[in-house]
Amino acid sequence: MFGHLDDPLGASPGARELARVLRRAHVIRARRRVAAVAACVVVIVGFAGYLAGRPQTVHISSTETGYQFNELKGPLAVGTPVPTTALVNVVFDNAERGFALAAHRDQAVLAETTDGGSSWQVQNGDLPSGYGQSTGYAGQFEFVGSDGYLWGGAPESDGSVPLWVTSDGGISWRSAAIGPVVYDVSAIGSNVWALAGACNVEPVGGAPAAPCPVVLEQSLDGGASWSAVDEAGFTEVVNALPLAQRVELARITLSRSYVLTTSAPDQSGTTELLFTGDSGATWQTRPVPCGGAFDLGAEIAASGTDDLWLLCGSQASAGQQSKQLYRSEDGGTTWTLTASATGLGTPPPAASQPNTLTLGGYIAPYSIGHKNLAVASPTTAWLYPFRSDLFKTVNGGLAWSAVPGLDTAGFGSGGPGNVTFISAQQGWICEYGVGLWHTSDGVHWYPLGV
């Protein structure tokens, strides 16, 4: 066929050609080995790089379950979506922007929302220690714009319970130079107050704690710098307590504030209420109606300058806790028992009041801080005891009714959570494992992030 194109001499391969071919084959084999090794190295390095740098955000959304969220390992990257079922504590700066502590594995991460709570993203996946599962995700925080304050975690190894401050929306935190133990913080704009103890927390099983001075610290620049308030009457009263086990700061305005202290039951169980009307320059004591069996813990809230709500609790048992709600319309000078729930060994109150509060669920000190009572106005308030439904009153606390729908959704099942309001209409409630619900009219609630 193509014979006319053949070489008339043809080829006569011999040992020389065979040797060349074998040498060439050896070179090809060597190159292939090198290429194979290089390819393996590239694949291994690439895979390692992928594992190290892969975004942890791609397989999870705000509507996934906490189980799937916990499948993500390591410190979560900023922007990682957080499911609403992982939220344990939410605060809102306005109707759109809010922050939350979310449970990820056994640690707490800071999450942010900019759409009213429908979607959440990790803002800081490496918070200071002490806010994780070991303490029931304890910890309180506040945000005013991008200035944030985080406190109340587990004691550090040196016994300090520091206040952490951020000025970039929670991306970075620094320890405030106060304390070493910070009990409570309240910010009004860039004016921040902090109640700090001068002694480290004694380790568990250590020597009984001695009375420790409590200092009121003030910052006028969003937590950057602090100075002790030169007060009169405050230190004398507070320091007279055997131990300020629970200290709650309730600031009404820049000038008017209340401090509620509750000592340990085995150290007299005394509850004290202090009031200042001049930005902390002078303090006066106010009577506290809680007492007797209702001395285990108290919680204070206010809707206005002189409208105070004081909630007292007794020793709880079998899922029930006796409670008393007192109201004051004169800044704590006089109190009126407004509602109660008595049982399980607590005597009925002196004043005849129906049991309009729920016996179920626990308030302080069983719950976390002062997150259970949200007062929106002199008539409207919400109560969310631990392991209980959300209750609402529209008549100043005389009658309370459970908010329908939330119990069937799973709220009150025992996970950490809170309720918060920015107005009488706008509110959010969250519970770990259940999710986040919202009301925009103060009446109807609906889930977010689904």
């Binding site: 194109l5 070489d7 391969p13 071919v21 074998l22 060439r24 090809i28 084999r29």
Partner: protein
């Protein structure tokens, strides 16, 4: 069929080398280039001998033709002008170029059949084995390929193409 065993490649080497050389020379028309192609094709055959030793002819033919076509394309690129007398001129140089060009225009199966059957001088049965098809299909692809080759070569060389590539 080459012998099996550790020395199978050595034993099959002369025949395979001649086969590769023949295919390459038909395309390139240069003894040195054809030897280079044959050595490269046999070196590659040696590397994968364990998989080819049952029937290496088809693989060697295809590799040799591909290498030769690649070398022919590179050689067709503009070269530096030569000074002095020009050496021996291959009288079939134009035909080889037309052959390569025409082969490249054939569909894949037809090109395979033509290369294996006519450049590699494989039998119809061996070509069918290499192509994984029946002998009838080899005949069909080969005939169509040759027809196409004639047509392409006629376009490029004029009516005389039929005489050169008559089957």
């Amino acid at each position: 069929m080459p012998a099996r065993g550790l020395d199978g490649f050595d034993l099959a080497f002369p025949d395979l080398y001649r086969l590769a050389y023949r295919v390459a020379f038909r395309i390139l028309g240069d003894r040195g280039d054809a030897e280079d192609v044959a050595q490269e094709a046999l070196a590659r055959t040696s590397v994968r001998w364990s998989r080819l030793e049952d029937r290496p002819e088809g693989w060697v033919t295809r590799v040799a033709s591909n290498l030769a076509i690649d070398r022919y394309r590179r050689r067709r690129r503009p070269a530096l002008p030569l000074n002095g007398p020009v050496g021996i001129v291959d009288p079939h140089l134009g035909e080889r170029g037309d052959l390569v060009a025409a082969l490249r225009r054939l569909p894949r199966r037809q090109r395979q059949a033509v290369v294996l059957r006519y450049l590699g001088d494989l039998s119809e049965a061996q070509t069918a084995l290499e192509m994984g098809c029946s002998i009838g299909a080899v005949k069909s692809h080969g005939a169509r390929g040759l027809t196409s080759l004639r047509r392409h070569l006629s376009e490029s060389t004029g009516a005389g193409g039929d005489n050169v590539w008559a089957s």
